[in-house]
Amino acid sequence: MALEQLSDVVQRCQALPSDSYTAEDHDIFTIAGRSCIEEGNSAQVLSIVLDEKNQDMVRCMGWNLLPPLIPVLLKKEDKNLPQCLAIFNHLIQTCRPKELLIGLLEQLEQDDPDTIAESLHLLLSPLQKVLLCLGSRKPSSLGMTLSSVLDQVAKLPLPRTKEQEEDDVFSLCRCCTDLTDFVRPFVDEARQNLLTTKTHSEDIDKTTAGQDEMEDELATELLKFCMKTLSHPLLEVQLWDPDTLPVSPLRMFATEILETLRAIGESLPSLVYQPLLRRKQVPGFLEEEVRYPKESLASLAHLVFVHHLAADTFPSVFSPVFSLRCTMEHILLLLSRTEDFRIQKGLELYEKSLVRVEDGSLPADLLEIKTFLTVPQNLVKVMTICPRHDLRTRGLKVFQLSVDKFDTEAKYRFFQYMLKTSNHSGVEGYIIKNIKNQIDIALQPGNSNTWFEGVHLLPLLRKVLILPDGPETDLLQYLDRIMESLNLLRYLVIRDKVTENQTGIWTELYKIEDSFMKPLRVGINMSRAHYERELHNTMEAKKKKKAKEEESVLSVSVGDEKLPSMTSESQIQALHSALHTFDMIESVLVRIEELVQVKDDP
């Protein structure tokens, strides 16, 4: 039936000039043609399509046959495959590029990952052919195509391990390779354009409209493409180094993207250092921030500095401190959200940037730059609440590394800042330990400075040797901080001779006794009494076996965690644990008091 209809309309149109085909002719051809293919009569359709007499018609209407063809081509085992492939190839050669483009792009839209990957693999090559035939419309069509392609790629699951990349079960890697092949001729063209433009400056000269504009447009579309891929998939996948994975399609893909950027005239240093460089406004149809999305630049910085892609073309003249200042912006971006891969990349980039700087060399005025304060704050979040243990540990390591790079005054101010803003007992404790180390260094011969002994130390100590809520401070919640403060105090009392008083601790001691040691004593006694009472009550309740029925009025925190309602056995254990903690705090406090006494009576 369909075949007859098709034959009829074809015969009819053979006699007509192509501009007088009616809408009805189009419709019949389309519907009948599609049905024939779907019904398996592709051989007949092939002969119609190849017939010399029908070429005008094929040129006008042939592209409508694409929708049923492509599923056949994707299925691969279909017995009609050879004929359909032949029809397909002929259509690509014959039909108008503009219409073919629409038809092909429609077929890209798929839902399940397998089909997506297969249709990309199938269609990228014909799309390329079609685009290369377009004249002035090429850049915008290329842009549209790349946008659709990347939307499809975004639906594919990402490999998460080296093995998954090798296996490439969902064909993401193959898609990336296909994509590289796809853009290659356009990149070459853009590169050629660049070589022939009149000026060499970064501003694209708009002397001649038309040709120049088109060249600019091509570069602009490729730039959009690169920026998009830097975000996805490149930011989200883990790249493996050549030692770990010698053949890595993803690493190849990333390298090609960087090469494409160079080909269109983008300077890698300008891109990664962009946060600090005031780029000249490029007159064009994209605003600067849209043109260079921050996330893409952060991804780029990671590729350049952590994976050393394009390392041999990156100038080795920039100062490490300047480099650090720029990358802090990228690091801030990466550390501001909670996805594992972003945090990992943020930490890696931070570490790489810090390692290039000498210890104790970063000056205090860097702390006037906002990122030098906000990045540590984000780092604290990673160290304290990131669910992954390895990232928390790494975060702490990078945190200490960053502290080590500051000079003495900067360390001082940084510690002040962190004590004021971190609001976390563990972090504060860690800072206090650092302060102790700095004091220890300052007291060594030849290292004396005004920050960790001398004039500035006491104001800092006053912020350390306090109880946040006086005698009512929750000792368990603030345990880390309190223990480190006590350790610091004990250290000072032992290390600094009363006759020398280099740190000023001895003249300050009577104040410290009033503001810290005495309230702490009171607090310990109060807490101990309270917990002993609770212990007693709980044990009584347990004896009466009413534990399960009674509402627990007691809320217990051990360390930082508030424990869920427990069995009375667990409650008792927790209470004992708390009491041991108070003993521990008290023992250090008593030791300090002893030491102070000894100094008083030699």
């Binding site: 003249v317 100062s319 490490p320 790489k352 006037e368 002040q416």
Partner: protein, 221 residues
């Protein structure tokens, strides 16, 4: 300085049991120099001091205070304490202008290979563009932006950056400021003004490397 304190009690009053130790301690603490208190073990909480000090000791101390006149404010230590109290540490980091400290002789040398126009010298903040080649002392080329024959097809541009702003290694910042447009010079830069003790990890530049650059200054904006 405040007027000298006067004796409140006579010897007999001091010895009397009616006069509590605490009062004597308080007086001495209020009026004696810090070092005096320290020597006589009268520092700290009055109650504690009262527990450890005998009345006789206190009387001796009291008398010694007036004999030696070591009152508050006579101690050099106190002055320091006062100064420490007076120091205001601002919470916000101040506007610290990093001044260039004269560290001695420049840590690079320059030999002119081709003279420039001797009129267009870059100032701090100007954008300069240059072609360059960087080598280590052993001759290894670690970096260059000059198109070689093989690279002719690829578009290469001279490196552009703002000079004198600490964006590049110090040897470059200092060296380029002495060059004029069109000049080609050989800069031999000591590690202190290059990449120092760290070198450039993951590149050809090892720690403590002296770097040799041949630089052509093509443009100054």
């Amino acid at each position: 300085m405040a007027a000298e304190p006067t004796r409140e009690w006579s010897d007999e009053q001091l010895k009397s049991d009616d006069l509590p130790k605490k009062d004597v301690i308080k007086f001495i603490q209020d009026n004696a120099a810090h070092s005096f208190l320290n020597e006589h073990k009268l520092l700290g909480n009055i109650k504690n001091v009262a527990k450890t000090a005998k009345k006789e000791q206190l009387i001796i101390a009291y008398n010694q205070l007036f004999e030696s006149k070591r009152f508050k404010g006579t101690d050099p230590v106190e002055e320091v304490t006062e100064q420490v109290k007076a120091v205001k540490i601002e919470e916000k980091p101040k506007e610290v202008k990093t001044e260039v400290v004269d560290e001695g002789p420049p840590k690079y040398t320059k030999s002119v290979l081709k003279k420039g126009d001797k009129t267009n010298f870059p100032k701090k903040g100007d954008t300069v563009s240059c072609w360059y080649t960087g080598t280590l002392e052993d001759g290894t080329v670690f970096d260059t932006n000059i198109p070689t024959a093989a690279r002719k097809k690829k578009q290469t541009k001279p490196l552009s950056f703002k000079v004198g702003m600490g964006r590049v290694i110090r040897g470059w910042d200092e060296g380029l400021l002495t060059m004029s447009k069109g000049e080609t010079a050989r800069l031999e830069i000591e590690p202190e003004w290059a990449y120092g003790k760290k070198g450039l990890p993951d590149s050809k530049i090892p720690p403590n490397a002296k770097l040799i650059f041949e630089v052509e200054l093509v443009a100054v904006d």
